[in-house]
Symmetry: D2
Amino acid sequence: MAHSAQDDWLVSLRRELHRRPEPAWCEFYTTARIVEELRTLDVDEILVGPDLLAEGERQEVPDEKTLDSWLEQARETGVDDDVLDKLEGGYTGAIATLEGGDGPTVALRVDIDGLPQKEADEQGHQPAEEGFRSIHEGYMHACGHDAHATFGLGVLREFVDREFDGTLKVIFQPAEEVVGGARPIAKSGHLDDVDALLAVHIGLDFPTGEIVAGMEGFLAVSHFDARFTGTPAHAGGHPEQGANAVQAMATAVQNLYGIARHGDGATRVNAGEVAGGTASNIVPEDAYIHGEVRGETTELMEYMRDRAETVLRSAAEMHDCEVSVERGSEAPSATSDDRIVEEVVSVAERTDGVDSILRSGTLGGSEDATYLMGRVQEQGGDAAYVGIGTDHPGGHHTATFDVDERSLDIGVDVLSGAIERLLGAASE
Amino acid sequence: MAHSAQDDWLVSLRRELHRRPEPAWCEFYTTARIVEELRTLDVDEILVGPDLLAEGERQEVPDEKTLDSWLEQARETGVDDDVLDKLEGGYTGAIATLEGGDGPTVALRVDIDGLPQKEADEQGHQPAEEGFRSIHEGYMHACGHDAHATFGLGVLREFVDREFDGTLKVIFQPAEEVVGGARPIAKSGHLDDVDALLAVHIGLDFPTGEIVAGMEGFLAVSHFDARFTGTPAHAGGHPEQGANAVQAMATAVQNLYGIARHGDGATRVNAGEVAGGTASNIVPEDAYIHGEVRGETTELMEYMRDRAETVLRSAAEMHDCEVSVERGSEAPSATSDDRIVEEVVSVAERTDGVDSILRSGTLGGSEDATYLMGRVQEQGGDAAYVGIGTDHPGGHHTATFDVDERSLDIGVDVLSGAIERLLGAASE
Amino acid sequence: MAHSAQDDWLVSLRRELHRRPEPAWCEFYTTARIVEELRTLDVDEILVGPDLLAEGERQEVPDEKTLDSWLEQARETGVDDDVLDKLEGGYTGAIATLEGGDGPTVALRVDIDGLPQKEADEQGHQPAEEGFRSIHEGYMHACGHDAHATFGLGVLREFVDREFDGTLKVIFQPAEEVVGGARPIAKSGHLDDVDALLAVHIGLDFPTGEIVAGMEGFLAVSHFDARFTGTPAHAGGHPEQGANAVQAMATAVQNLYGIARHGDGATRVNAGEVAGGTASNIVPEDAYIHGEVRGETTELMEYMRDRAETVLRSAAEMHDCEVSVERGSEAPSATSDDRIVEEVVSVAERTDGVDSILRSGTLGGSEDATYLMGRVQEQGGDAAYVGIGTDHPGGHHTATFDVDERSLDIGVDVLSGAIERLLGAASE
Amino acid sequence: MAHSAQDDWLVSLRRELHRRPEPAWCEFYTTARIVEELRTLDVDEILVGPDLLAEGERQEVPDEKTLDSWLEQARETGVDDDVLDKLEGGYTGAIATLEGGDGPTVALRVDIDGLPQKEADEQGHQPAEEGFRSIHEGYMHACGHDAHATFGLGVLREFVDREFDGTLKVIFQPAEEVVGGARPIAKSGHLDDVDALLAVHIGLDFPTGEIVAGMEGFLAVSHFDARFTGTPAHAGGHPEQGANAVQAMATAVQNLYGIARHGDGATRVNAGEVAGGTASNIVPEDAYIHGEVRGETTELMEYMRDRAETVLRSAAEMHDCEVSVERGSEAPSATSDDRIVEEVVSVAERTDGVDSILRSGTLGGSEDATYLMGRVQEQGGDAAYVGIGTDHPGGHHTATFDVDERSLDIGVDVLSGAIERLLGAASE
């Protein structure tokens, strides 16, 4: 299928998705809209709903009320109700399969969720200027997953009318931002026949025209949810009768960020969402921290997790509060395999618009793609994580993040080229 | 009008109100239900709606959406829609007037709002056991204002069929818990003709049968709302690019509680409600503290307020954040006048069920009744704040707070008796 | 013995003592200098040395090296070596006794220690201007104990040549500032025959010419010494291998000051002296807090002490440190007996220079005189704590504290007058 | 000169130095003892005293009293008084020069100072068991500089009787632990003729028999000294009149450790030594933090330094205190040059006792050798930092640190071999 260098279809798809960012496990519209395109492309198989995700393995699923409210909004857009029905309860995401002849199975994984981040509404922020700013106030595609979903559809379009040996699977993964979607897909077994897996990310401070063939430096990550319970009291009459859950939480926050850096490598900690108390004149009875720790290796992550749990428990004790600490989703570290990296490099070398190729680069963040990569590698397959540079005005996860849409074409070309060679290569 | 010692009407009224606690400025059902009783009692005048509250003086009014949702709930109970219409926008509360002949004007002030406190649902908590536990989950009459409203109606019932000189006004004040309702009533001028004002509180650690004729030790109070704004960043990739509003908030909380105690008298501080951040993997951009400071005198409250503002500003600066600090509602300190205290003491001495009378007692909390008391005193009238003891199993503002319903009768008797003497006394 | 209104002897004595402030248990020069005067006055008995202080009851005695260095300095002043020998080991202080005929025993307690506070050296600070600023840099009579010692000698001078019934004891108490000297004297039994005890303090924000006949509002106090032990590590290479005692200490300090205020009355907390660590590149292994808590009642002090200990232990645990918390000296609260207060009032009414008399006043601080008062009261005697106003430019315990020397005369006159009446009164 | 594999001279020298650790700028005994050996070895030139160190460039020199006390202790050991005289004022360290014929100048830098760390005195700690534990209680060679000094002398012994072309300089550098000694030597010009510089460190978690030819990963470091000044007050009477310097310091400590980790590489922060306040009953007027920040690059160190300064200033402001922040010594990052690394590798390959050679390794700490390396590299020479593995039971800077003395021989052999080749190589 021929298409122009600055492909209108890709741009318009990406903008449509950008306008309706949905947070983890609430990608109802996004999934249904993707399915719509998959049907148009006439792929061989579309998997959606509970079968996609191993029973009991989804993590950080919002409460029913939240899920329903997003589902309701999705219904109002007019996307296919039958698809939405299958997604009910937060069973979002999809796997699309194209069958060629005998040959290896190659998979591409893209993630599709947005973030609870308010989008900028100012001069110079292209989505605002050109009318595709998020219509879900307080939510935003601030990490480029709109572009990722577009990559997935763009790659499929390249292969639908083409002859090839083997099988191509594109995984539209939900809930990456809460490190929650990859694990239930990995455990579902849908990847166990995969010989080569490509995961992809746009941006990451690499400019438009730059390709990172095999990203390294994934930080292992672990989420936690700490809930402090104290004793309420009248803040004026008898503050001493209270056990102040907000004081416990604040002490914990201060000391979480103060956990000692580690000589063996990078660590991270974030008290990303906190709250407590109900009224200015009541000593707060409840408070929580929804946070995360990371480490350059799984061991470093565990060091942080152990220290964080000590901090949380001691902070509660200090203020006569109880605390429950629940571990949320986790993702391991991962490495990219040379076999795939080589293919990406050679394809990138002859791709229009690519002017710089890095064999490896450092992610410096976490990604639950590492679950999928690890699963494929355990089964004897190879995996790599590819970076597609893009000039982004604001940092990832900030209000002014945006992608340079020239990267959409480049990404589709590099990924399709590498997949073509892997289908061929593996069949040799 | 005759009634039994354990007056069924009072108990049943109190329980009805207890079941439907409404927070400050949302007392739609409560006000309409009170008006219903006032009409039955056939009082001379009922004032509700915007005229009750001086323009622009209400503080800490919730947003429209919250107001609407409470109004909606009130409508569903079947109370008079015409009354509710007048309250729209949070113009809650009422003043009921009974006109006798020539004579002094005596006023009784009762407050009617509930608290954002979850009510206990356990063995031994009478409202749960006897079926009048709050049906508004997360809200509760945890400070006895259900009993206060009942006092107001009970006192009016005592006078409706009685001949007396002078005028009796009962003020059903909204929004005491946010220290927000007294000031707009004071500024409305509806109290400017009042010769004697009684305010009343149940409980306060005084047992059933004990009366405090003139409460002292009101803490002046000032609310504040601090909003921290930082810079979001990817918590894994580039935490250093963020300016962490939650870290600023936590530093502020720790240091607010650490403001030096004052040698001249009691002070208080509470970070009663806090929140910040949106997701575990984003360095939090926003956070807030809704808090309060108090002091035994207005000067001591101002010392706390000034120190608190320094803490808030420095904590923001420390973490490269901005902070806006808005002062919310404030209430001054107050004293009870001897003339009224004497009357309360002599009435209490001959009231059934009273077995202990304190001339004065210490509130140790704050109360915006002080605004009304101050206004009356400025105009040359007298005021006193009366405590009606009750055995309460849990502390004020806690989940197991409850009142001993034997206090309802006692309170009505003492207040009615004192009012009768003040009507007479002032007319001498 | 006649003397002028502005008594040169008192002024010069006070200045001599002011120049050589000595901290708790190091009052070697001060004691010896006082003994010198007592010998000149020819009192009947002078008690110094270990007999004065009940075995094992002295608290917060400095280490031997510190004691020796102060003793050495004292020796260099030329005071009597034999006296100094008796004080060796920190057995400072003295009791002087004058025997009249049969009659009651009346005691006056004055304290004599200085503070580890650098004295101001600036224009307007009288001791600096007139050449009697502290020559012990870093130490200062910043609480007026130089004047107290002078009161003690001044009162004795009034009685040495006078006939009277009964016995007069003046107790020159060491180590008040560490709340350490009164208890061993109380336990020594030397007060068990006392019928009336007067303790005295100058200043306390009362102006020259004002007398407080019976001070109230003593805060009960308890000292603590918390020692944190962690694990050192190279701060650059392997900070994670350390357990950071300074971080534990800082967390504790923040949360100590944040202990909830108490609805029942005044509380205090102070982390008065802290230290930790040895070098910028070592994760600190050790840290300590030498602090105190106070309460308006002994119960309130105990509330603070318990909460403080929880904070200290949790802060250690949070940072994988050990902590030992030793309770130091304590002092209870106390009250002044009416019998003595009356006598002070009537004497003050006819004393030159007194222009304002308060029956009672609030100390708002702590005092180990309460131990002595309690001991006397337990044995059936009476006690009172008298305030002698003085205009002091700086606050107590600050660099610019000073006394108005006109207060020396006034104090001696009021105290002597009251003692005279008590000697007489008790003998009636 | 022949010597046994386990060279008695080296072992006994190292133990002698180990017994008398001296902190930065106080290496009086150590320097004089080294000079004694240099004279025995009969080197061509020995430079000691002020000429060694560029005027005004020494940093973190202790106060005169401390210097004098260490000098005094050194005198008591009987080392040469004339040498000690030259070192007075803390002009410690030495450069020894051996002149061969024409040829390149090769330098070896060893550091000689100890640490303020108490040495273990327990079973299993070899220095304690074999009688060469530190006799300076509270100070210890806890980083192996005793072995470094021994390396320097051992290498010189290899060359004194040997013919070679070029010049060999051994720099016995003082004050490495405070990052203070390299800079004044670099600025003195004594290295400006050096063609190749070797610096060396023992241990660093590399085992005995392992050689790291070119260490990388030096953290740039910057020391700071923050002094908080508040207002004292009586902690019982009027705590609100104080401005609490200890509270400011504790807030700063908590937030220093909480400075956000950086996505670009390793950072460090340590509040290594803190203190404040004078007595438990005075609100602390003064406090200080002697700390440091580090970064994997100079930019990262500067990020930490800027953030730290913001934290320090805001913490002071929050508590109405003043703060002065003085930057102390700093050291940049550095890299090892391939030319030298190659020589070290080839020598190590044929050295007895070496069983593992790493071309590079990560220091993960800071080192002011980087100043010397940078200076040589700026002048066109090459530099490398060599690691000599040793089994050390405790971590660097801890009480149980020790070296495996088999490493002494290995270190001398590898260093001498590499120096020999560099003398030869450069002359080609």
